[in-house]
Symmetry: C2
Subunit: 682 residues, 2 copies
């Protein structure tokens, strides 16, 4: 009837007329407004809270007067007494429409509320988790129609929630009858359904209405560290994060040495699998303790990892990933039960979802980066490099997305560097070299001061200066190039050529002294010619991989560069570009995505739509195999120069001096030869 009250919902703007007495929740459902409810409108769960707005609304063409909603009723009163209802709020299932009204659905009452991932990103995550609780009222058994309790529960889920198909494992079936009777034929079931399934799996059942929060854990399982984020599956909020070293390091620092360990030692793969699973259980235990929750509240784990870690986590021998054609056991996502992975630190019924690998060298971590950064949604041609022991490289825009991995080796992480060390207090992480005096100043991890500032010595008294970490070595080499201490071929000049005694003789080559602590029994921190060579190999591999993708795409330039990975967050864009790690773009077009893989894992944890999306994306990505592309070698050789032998880097040169020096005395090493192609590690 056209004289029925008009109801307008905000922020959706959906509107319709409803008979007097219609509950707001009912009106919302009929209009397709996103208003949450776990109890199905029984005034129990309070998820359907709304805020009525009163007054003149010319925009909506209505005036909302007091009395436009029914009076506060006993259910709302009881809820308010027990838990407190914020001022102006009503329960959408209790308040009924009496007259024209504008109703605001606050974000926390939206099922599919958006969760902003991080300040730096415009993208948002829509909550659509695989695991959700549902409150239902189940019909009591009847001797005349003797259906089972499970069948009546399924019927209730169908009638009350539109859930077509459910299945229960044996452990749920064992508890079902007791729970239904204890809850006087009401219960809350926790259901799980993946993006590629049509059946909801009952993970848990509790009598009556049960609102203890449910959590999931997003796990970024790296070769060196394992990071985990305990996430509230209703809100998407991270309750707490924690990290742990990957105990597989004792079997080999890089992935290929772990594959070798597996090949050389019978049972070695099993040993590594056990080690990582034990660590994951410990890590989840830490999260549980930190958040003050119980393991039973954790209902799902989502993993992202490189292919070798993927296989070792699943207990699959990674031997095939160590040799061409680098065949994955499976290239789809993997859905499991926690017991399949010997995980005992969660709810017994909890599920596991492992993101798909892109190729034998391009892992689920890269897939997670693709999910988080969504290059396929960009108009700009975006290059994403996830810098680690292996670099995963994605290049794409709305037309096409390409992926490859490149074996950069551990130099970027401070390994194979003479004074290199892991990022830890005492490590030099930033450095500047005065181009006139050739004198350095630096910062060490754990201290906010520069080395030439007052109080620096006191501030570092406990840690000292112990070495140089990954971001430090990149800055050091780039600063040396900008200060004219290093020529484009990568040769360090002699004291005579550079005019500074900080360049010292070191056999037939030279080194640059950043810090001399030897007087106090401390280290001599230098950048040696060998360090430069190691960095050149690493950055050439990275750049060559990017160039190969650009070839495939038919372009010489990109619009944007995103540095991903925990390490990526610490790399200075200017220094990376001076080194020629990444193509020449304006510096403000180089951004850090932080731990994009971890973000992708969280997105997959919070959204089955994201799972479907990444599964599709992974299939569509064009995989480029650097190992078999002849042009890779050519790109690699050209990229050896700093910043590059043939690519002009004009944008960079317009803002940064790159002195045109040459220190070749005939005794310097061959800058293009001697390349030992590292065994691959993704």
């Amino acid at each position: 009837m056209s004289t029925d009250p008009l109801v307008v919902f905000t922020p959706s703007g959906k509107r319709g007329r409803f008979p007097v007495g219609t509950p707001v929740l009912t009106a919302a459902r009929q209009l397709g407004v996103d208003l949450d409810s776990v109890c199905g409108g029984r005034g129990i769960c309070s998820k359907c809270q709304i805020t009525p707005s009163y007054g003149e609304f010319p925009k909506h063409g209505l005036t909302a007067r007091k009395g436009a909603l029914s009076d506060w009723n006993s259910v709302e009163q009881r809820y308010d007494d027990k838990r407190g209802l914020a001022s102006g709020r009503r329960l959408g299932c209790q308040a009924t429409v009496q007259n024209d009204i504008v109703i605001d659905v606050p974000p926390e009452s939206q099922v599919h509320r958006q969760v902003v991932r991080k300040a730096a990103s415009a993208r948002a995550m829509v909550m659509d988790p695989a695991v959700r609780p549902y409150y239902v009222e189940v019909a009591e058994p009847d001797m005349h129609t003797p259906t089972g309790d499970l069948e009546r529960l399924a019927e209730a889920l169908k009638d009350q929630w539109g859930i077509e198909k459910v299945e229960a494992g044996i452990s749920v079936l064992r508890r079902l009858q007791h729970m239904l009777r204890k809850g006087k034929w009401t219960c809350t079931v926790v259901l799980h359904k993946n993006h590629d399934e049509d059946t909801h799996r009952i993970l848990g059942i509790a009598p009556g209405y049960y609102d203890r929060p449910i959590y999931g854990v997003a796990i970024d399982l790296g070769s060196t560290t394992i990071a985990a984020h305990l996430t509230d599956l209703r809100t998407g909020e991270v309750a707490t994060s924690s990290g742990i070293m990957n105990p597989q390091i004792r079997f080999g620092e890089d992935l290929m040495s772990r594959v070798s360990y597996s090949m050389m030692n019978p049972g070695g793969a099993v040993e590594m699998t056990d080690a990582v699973r034990t660590a994951i259980n410990a890590l989840i235990g830490t999260l549980t303790a930190e958040a003050g929750i119980v393991p039973q509240q954790i209902m799902e784990l989502v993993f992202v990892c490189n292919p070798v870690m993927h296989h070792l986590l699943l207990g699959i021998d990674p031997v095939e990933l160590g040799q061409a054609p680098f065949a994955l056991a499976t290239s789809k996502s993997v859905a499991l039960h926690v017991a399949d992975l010997d995980i005992n630190s969660t709810n017994d019924a909890a599920r596991v979802f492992v993101l798909p690998c892109i190729a034998g060298h391009v892992g689920a971590d890269a897939a997670a980066v693709a999910l988080s950064e969504a290059p396929g949604d960009q108009d700009d041609l975006t290059l994403i490099v996830d810098v680690g022991t292996n670099a995963e490289i994605l290049l794409g825009n709305k037309t096409q997305v390409l992926a490859c991995s490149s074996p950069t080796g551990p130099a970027f992480e401070g390994a194979q560097i003479s004074s290199g060390q892991r990022a830890a207090p005492g490590a030099i992480e930033r450095i500047e070299i005065n181009p006139d005096t050739k004198e350095p100043r630096f910062q060490v991890i754990g201290c906010g001061l520069w080395s030439d500032e007052d109080g620096f010595e006191a501030a570092i008294a406990t840690t000292g200066v112990t070495g140089i970490c990954g971001s430090g070595i990149i800055e050091a080499v780039a600063e040396m190039r900008m200060a004219g201490l290093l020529d484009p071929k990568g040769l360090i000049g002699s004291p005579a050529q550079t005019g500074t005694t900080r360049c010292i003789e070191d056999g037939r080559t030279h080194s640059y002294v950043i810090y001399d602590g030897t007087a106090d029994g401390g280290p001599l921190v230098t950048v040696t010619q060998g360090d430069i060579r190691a960095i050149q190999l690493a950055k050439s591999a990275l750049y060559a991989g990017a160039r190969l993708l650009m070839d495939e795409m038919g372009t010489d330039t990109v619009d944007r560069v995103v540095l991903a990975g925990a390490f990526g967050a610490h790399i200075s864009p200017k220094h990376a570009m001076v080194l020629g790690m990444i193509p020449d773009v304006p510096l403000d077009r180089v951004t850090s995505a932080g731990n994009a893989a971890g973000t992708g894992a969280r997105m997959a944890l919070c959204s089955v739509a994201a799972r479907a999306s990444i599964e599709k994306t992974v299939r569509e990505i064009t995989k480029v195999e650097t190992a078999i592309e002849p042009k890779f070698q050519e790109h690699f050789v050209n990229a050896n120069a700093i910043p590059h032998a043939t690519d002009p880097f004009t944008t960079l040169r317009s803002v940064t001096p790159l002195p045109d020096v040459s220190f070749n005395t005939g005794s310097g090493g061959d800058t293009t030869g001697g390349r030992r192609r590292r065994r691959r590690a993704s």
Copy 2:
């Protein structure tokens, strides 16, 4: 082209013209002829053997000449050398059509060959198992399209077998890469798919072509005994059968005492669950040893059982089945993994299928009987009684099928009978009483002679005469009635009333002496007045249940009676009818279905179509609850007389004398009172 050779397949009669050179298997597939192949036409599996027929075939309108099929080729030669090909046989995938030909497909080459269940039955079982092996050739990995091994296997199954969707558990995924490489990119996978699933589950994988037979076990899990049939899942043939006592007997002989045990003893249900699972593992071990196979060959188990055993098997506390409204945890079939039931005597990947229960008192065993006997497919109105401690009763025809259970108690099994014992050597199982002399003669289990035949004493020397078993007591009571020793009310006459000293005083009642071994220290085997009362209670419950279903059906008569259950096979129809256990029908319309529940289990094991059928049937069956039907009591009272107080049994009387005696002296017990309604047991 109409001049292409004509190919006629027998026995199907399907025919068509095919170009010269068409393989017979290809022709068969195009015509929809049921010709098996596991290797997909690669000359490996030999499942597609056919027999060409040569000569004049006026019926088919063709003449088949020598040379109508291609010559024996090297593949066939190799197969013949290795395994031998029967005379006249060809491999359908190798022999090609050259000219008009008639081709016979022998039964063993048909996928959906029928397996006749038993000589007595016209019905047949079509092989359609949930578990089947498939040979496939898998594409090798390719770095340019880096899909996983699992995805290429799935692709191969789709291309070569039309299988749309497969999933692999973690244990298959762990072995997949090694198996594919070992088999040089060929493998045999064992797939499983239930009737209500759309995904094939990979249970096992072996390199290359692998033809070790796959078995399933059909298990009839009874309260007293567990019977199991090891069945070849390609042929449906039973390799071996075995039985074992249900060890739960120590917790209570009948089901209700087990439910009580569970209610009275914390952990009692778990204890009983453990006991039965241990027994099942032992039983499967026996089958495996007897058949000379290895546990890994057993890929599926199918269970039928009453509701209490169903719940105890699954580890569900049966407490709800002990009290109204007798709610089942689930009334659908249950599909599980063997590990869910702690079964470790099969392939680790083996599956379990448990038939659905019909109601809280009418179990999956009754469902299996319904599957085996298919009352809903009959024009005749058929009454099926599965006689045991509880009787399951089905009544139906094409219009409708009804089911109930009735608490007969253990009297029919020789329990609660003064001289009663289990069916074992020494037990009287058959008995005749001369109506003139009132003298008995009998047979005991383990001896083929009647007691009045020469050599009987010698033949039973080792076993002796120890008591009377279930079928023996039924015959004894019926013979006493026919000989005029027992009146319709169930009173045994005095020596004076009956004229025989075999009727002896026994307190205020009388007993009939069948065998007096006391002189030699043996037993005095008698039928006491108390035994008669126990049999009356049992048979009244059975008849009342059948009558109740007949009421629901609106009929006073049935067309056929089927006695099912292991015990049913031993009951003599005439004696059962004299007792009034079953309604009055011509004796030749009473048949035994043997162990119909076990047959139903085998059918479900061999056919997913059978699973779908019984799931549907169970939903459609009208369930009648004897406990809440007021008419049950009335039927019970009327059924107390032998054969019956009100139903005339005219058909029976026309062939069998039922002397019209009466021994009521005023001191005899009340034949209708004193009925202690037994606690229910299904």
